[in-house]
């Protein structure tokens, strides 16, 4: 007599799938660093191709140049660091302060990322660069967006 084996249908339980996906979701939500807010300056960075990545994120300090969002401040282009507007004469002081936050051996390795709006005049950008030279922070990266 041939016995017919009743085959149980093999089904993968999908009950834990939502849990797995949620775990992934939380991972991405936590790991994705939210861009630091810039609420002082209007900014569209120019497009470029020859871009290189900066590996040492801890060495980066940012300077933003552009027209202020707040119209009451005026229509003149301003320099903004750490989300506050500063005068260019204060820039050297700021660079020195930032250097103090770095360990001794990395002080001269500091990288300044200049985020400037497309239509900022070169005069102002140069003034910033002159201040940087004075403060001996000569590694500069011009922040750009990739060309599509």
């Amino acid at each position: 007599m041939i016995r017919k084996k009743t085959r149980a249908k093999a089904e993968i339980s999908t009950a834990s799938l939502p849990d797995i996906v949620f775990l992934l979701l939380f991972f991405f939500m936590v790991s994705a660093t939210i861009k630091p807010m810039n609420d002082q300056v209007k900014l569209t960075t120019p497009k470029a191709e020859a871009m290189t990545k900066v590996n040492r994120k801890e060495l980066i300090r940012e300077i933003i140049i552009g027209k202020p969002i707040n119209r009451e401040v005026g229509d003149q282009e301003v320099i903004s660091v750490d989300n506050r507007v500063i005068k260019k004469e204060q820039l050297t002081q700021w660079v020195m302060e930032q250097k103090e936050t770095l360990p001794e051996n990395l002080k001269d390795q500091m990288i300044i990322v200049i985020k400037a709006d497309e239509y900022v005049k070169m005069g102002l950008v140069d003034d910033v660069q002159e201040e940087l030279k004075k403060a001996n922070a000569r590694k500069v990266v011009y922040r750009t967006t990739p060309k599509l």
Binding site: P18, F28, T33, A50, M51, T52, K53, N55, Y142, P146
Partner: protein, 183 residues
Amino acid sequence: MKLKKREVQEINTGSMADIAFLLLIFFLVSTTILQEKGVSLKLPPEPEDQEIAEIHDRNLYKILVNSSNQYLIEDQRRDNLTGLREEVKAFVMNNSIDPALSVSPDKATISIKTSRGTDYKYFIAVLDEVKEAYYEIYGARVGMSSEDYRALDLDKPTERDLISRGKDGIPMNISIAQPEKTL
């Protein structure tokens, strides 16, 4: 009397996965991982401790941008930057062949000068073209595209070796002159 049989109400969790997936994909797409990318440059030191280097005219490739964002490249008026990359490459890699171009790659210097009224965008456009020309030279020497060359990681020994092989003997001499008020 009829006893109503109560069924246990269960919420269908079958679509939970779909909802979660949707959220996951939304976050994946919307969060750009903060990447610090840009065009890098090393500023020259302060004038007092700067040695004044005499550069022979043939070793200097002059690019000027005036306050109306017009280009003057090697004393010729230009409206756009088409072809600049090829010209820079030819200039750098001349190796004394053409008497008007550079003597050797290590002596070749690209000078970019802007006016105080130039828009930042146009300066970046020039700098980008010049740097890309150099990266194309570097990349070609190690058999890579400039894009792959730029993506090389200094922290990895094998890739660092490739970077130095590409650069060897061809320094990126880009001189940023201080903008003039009147130009």
